[in-house]
């Protein structure tokens, strides 16, 4: 049964990949492609958050600081020295890792909400800092007015393209990469350790797991890839505004998408990210101009309903449908599927 299933799944996967690769040929309007890029970026960011928030169960409410630090450092290095964003993103990503260790080291040893509180406090602090820092020495930060990415026309080396198509393929590769990494973590010793410490820290420690160490590793991986998302955002929009890139809306959005999609699973945050971002964009498109905030209100209601009626995430709904489908085709397909928590 599993053999058939794997084959069926890989066929579905292959078809999906081909469709995604061909998408820009069908969707030719830049606006629609832009919306799709944003959806994929949210799916990517939710998957990044999921590594520390879902697998390890550490509620980070300040992941916006990692998108911000990645984006700002890369853009400042590019604007000041002309350093290619492709290289700058490693500096930004490295800085995000350092920041995650600085937040994690003192708080991961504690129980309860301390980590969540620390992430909120630090992210609020960083938004204020960014809003009030015009420049540091010769580095222009931009303050509340924001920071514009120096335009050099279409240049692959400078991560700047006039067409949306390259951005689409870049974000698609990023999304595949993070799905691959999430799957690899989930199946590895690290993944087992993260879920174990999420379920019970004392029992995990008694079984030889260095709880703080493993949380720090998960936090660093999550921070690095979140920072890359920030760099992509910066090069796509070419304008950084503190509240947008580091603010609470950025941070909480990642959490929402991952939880609504199914935190702790590999594909949940991807599904949540694409679906919710799409819904949000559609509502904004049709209702955005009518009544101030109406689209946000409706979006909030949808999130609320999903959390009430599908608390384990949309992914569970997909799994149920998939299971019913395979059961219909195969009589023995009951138990092992029903009891497997790793699912997707």
């Amino acid at each position: 049964m599993t053999g058939i299933n794997i084959n069926k799944n890989s066929v579905i996967l292959a078809v999906l990949v081909v469709l995604l690769l061909l998408l820009p040929m069908v969707v030719t309007k830049p606006y629609y492609l832009h919306v799709i890029i944003i959806c994929l970026l949210w799916a990517y960011l939710a998957s990044c958050w999921n590594i520390i928030g879902g697998f390890a169960g550490q509620l980070s409410l300040g992941h916006g600081i990692y998108t911000a630090i990645g984006a700002y450092i890369t853009v400042i290095l590019f604007n000041t020295f002309g350093l290619s964003p492709w290289l700058g993103l490693f500096v930004g990503g490295g800085a995000a890792i350092l920041l995650s260790l600085m937040i994690g080291y003192p708080t991961f040893g504690l129980r309860g909400a301390y980590y969540a509180l620390a992430t909120v406090a630090i992210s609020e602090g960083i938004v204020v800092l960014l809003n009030n820092t015009g420049s540091i020495g010769r580095f222009t930060v931009g303050g509340a007015e924001g920071l514009i990415v120096k335009s050099v026309g279409s240049s692959a080396a400078a991560f700047q393209f006039n067409s949306k198509i390259p951005y689409y393929y870049i974000v698609l590769i990023m999304l595949f990469l993070i799905i691959f990494i999430a799957k690899w973590i989930k199946e590895s010793k690290l993944g087992y350790y993260l879920v174990a410490l999420r379920e019970d820290e004392d029992a995990a420690a008694a079984m030889g797991i260095n709880v703080r160490h493993n949380k720090l590793i998960a936090g660093a991986i999550s921070a690095f890839f979140t920072a890359l998302g920030g760099v992509f955002y910066a090069m796509l929009i070419r304008y950084l505004e503190p509240n947008a890139i580091a603010g609470a809306s950025m941070s909480t959005q990642m959490v929402f998408l991952a939880i609504v999609g199914g935190s702790g699973t590999v594909l949940g945050p991807v599904i949540g990210g694409i679906l919710l971002a799409l819904i949000s964009e559609i509502i904004r498109f049709y209702l955005g101009g009518q009544l101030m905030g109406l689209h946000l209100f409706i979006y909030g209601m949808i999130v609320l309903l999903m959390i009430i009626y599908q608390p384990r995430g949309i992914i569970e709904l997909f799994e149920k449908i998939g299971r019913r489908f395979s059961r219909k085709h195969n009589d023995e397909g009951g138990r092992s599927g029903a009891e497997d928590p790793s699912g997707a």
Partner: protein, 245 residues
């Protein structure tokens, strides 16, 4: 002469004004099965927590396998070769039985296939193979107790600390568990167990240590301990001290 595996010397801890464990001295030889009994609040679980590093002792030392492990963190102590179970079982609810056990097996390997092999062997030993793919949160109490032991065993310890693994089981289940623990001991794993079910403790252990108010009040064979007047007093009160005479 038998090799000493675990040695506690003058082990003590104070919580504020309360001395929960008071100058506890204890030697356990490799291969032995020792019972640790005493009334509620005698400091049995606290003694376990001192050994594995959950609490830091105020005074005293823990020597394991000729090495001073006093105050090392729980995950380090586990890797030195001490496995422990919890009085209130702590399964990883959202993982399957096999995955639960594999977590322990990862102490000695980083390969998933090897961990699965070790875990499968232990799962069969603990008669949990029928529940292989069940989520731990869906197990019954006796199954959870067996899983608790399986998780500790998966770390391949030299010394296994069992904290009331028989509590809450019925007579048949106790007998099965006793046989299981005896098998584990016969396979070469030294056992120190906290237990209230005295009959079972006597069936497993060659030596019993009695704690009361954090102090060791008696030590010896099951017969010696149960006829000790201090022990009877601790369990039943002063007026029973001379009940026999």
């Amino acid at each position: 002469m038998q090799k000493t595996l675990l040695e506690l010397s003058d082990l003590s801890i104070k919580f504020g004004g309360l001395t929960a464990v008071n100058r506890l001295n204890l030697k356990i030889n490799a291969g032995e099965a020792v019972g640790l009994i005493g009334p509620n609040g005698a400091g049995k679980t606290t003694a376990f927590n001192l050994i594995v590093g959950v609490h830091q002792p105020t005074v005293g030392k823990v020597i394991f396998d000729e090495e001073d492990i006093t105050g090392l963190a729980p995950h380090v102590v586990c890797r030195k070769g001490i496995g422990r179970t919890f009085q209130v079982v702590k399964p990883f609810g959202k993982m399957t039985v096999l995955q639960n056990i594999m977590v322990g097996a990862f102490v000695n390997t980083s390969k998933k296939s090897e961990a699965r092999l070790i875990a499968t062997e232990i799962m069969e030993k603990m008669s949990l193979q029928g529940k292989r793919d069940y989520l731990a949160q869906n197990l019954t109490i006796p199954e959870r107790k067996r899983l608790e032991m399986a998780k500790a065993l998966a770390t391949q310890p030299k010394l296994l600390l069992l904290d009331e693994v028989l509590a809450g089981l019925n007579q048949t289940e106790i007998e099965e568990a006793v046989q299981l623990i005896k098998t584990i001991n016969r396979d070469g794993i030294t056992i120190l167990m906290i237990e209230h079910v005295l009959q079972a403790t006597m069936a497993i252990c060659s030596r019993i240590v009695v704690l009361d108010y954090g102090k060791k009040i008696a030590e010896g064979s099951p017969q010696e301990v149960t006829s000790n007047s201090e022990v009877i007093k601790a369990y039943l009160g002063d007026e029973y001290e001379n009940a026999d005479s």
